[in-house]
């Protein structure tokens, strides 16, 4: 990993199209400004990691039956609820 020391308002350039500016430091928080082409995704690592974990959890066919049963039960109750509401409205 390349490690650089920067002061407030100093910048780092990545290639030709990406500029990262240190806007300020307060305690353990650093405010960073990023200029990049619109097509370059900029993600907070912890959010990306959370989505990755969710993908792995939600796609495992070994638990698909449990998920399927829960879905059917929830949707069945939802339909019953809608039906009851319709009958009351009528």
């Amino acid at each position: 990993m390349l490690v650089l020391a920067r002061k407030t308002d100093q910048a780092i350039l990545l290639g030709d199209g990406i500029r990262i500016v240190i806007l300020g430091v307060s305690g353990d928080r650093v405010r960073i400004g990023i200029e990049a082409p619109r097509e370059v995704p900029i993600l907070r690592q912890e959010l990306r990691d959370a989505v990755e974990e969710a993908n792995l959890d939600a796609s495992d066919t070994k638990s698909a039956v449990h998920r399927w049963n829960t879905l059917q039960a929830a949707l069945g109750k939802h339909r019953d609820s809608d039906s009851d509401a319709s009958e009351r409205a009528a």
Binding site: P41, L43, R44, L47, R48, D49, A50, V51, E52, E53, A54, N55, L56, D57, A58, S59, D60, T61, K62, S63, A64, V65, H66, R67, W68, N69, T70, L71, A73, A74, L75, K77, H78, S81
Partner: protein, 158 residues
């Protein structure tokens, strides 16, 4: 005899033999794969979203992977309106809320307490006309990958 009768059919068998699965409405390709799972690129999207809120996204590349999915407007009341300006701008840029043939889907899961949950932080954007798809990570840190769906309805579900 291995053959299952209708009465003996299990959910496992029904899913594995596609017996209960909704029809394929598109074959979709994620050019960059899914977030953290770059090898999962090609899927079949199954569903009838005009009648049922839940569909399936089954992997062609890895038969051990499949997702239950639901359009965002079903998974989260308010749909696009619940997203901040930056996220709305990004989704609209991909055609969500602009074109009828572009869907924003949330993957569904079941948490340890049996509650139905939706991943609102990383929705899937699917262009039904081209089959192109992508997974986005939204910027709103208050969005959850485990947003409870129909919370009161899934209580007690197995």
């Amino acid at each position: 005899m291995d053959m299952l009768t209708t009465q003996e059919a299990t959910p496992e068998a029904a899913i594995s033999t596609n017996e209960m699965l909704p029809p394929v409405i598109a074959r979709v390709s994620f050019a960059s794969g899914l977030i953290g799972c770059a090898q999962w690129k090609n899927f079949e999207l199954r569903g009838a979203f005009d009648r049922e809120p839940v569909g399936l996204l089954t992997s062609i590349d890895d038969p051990d992977r499949m997702f239950f999915v639901s359009p965002i407007e079903y998974a989260a009341p308010g749909g696009l309106l619940r997203f901040n300006n930056e996220d709305t701008r990004m989704l609209r840029q991909y055609g969500v809320g602009v074109r009828d043939d572009v869907l924003a889907l949330a993957t569904l899961n079941v948490d340890d307490d049996g509650n139905l949950t939706a991943n609102l932080l990383g929705p899937l954007v699917v262009d039904l006309s081209t089959g192109e798809a992508r997974q986005t990570v939204l910027t709103d840190v208050t969005l959850s990958t485990r947003h409870r769906v129909l919370a009161e309805l899934s209580d007690g579900a197995d």
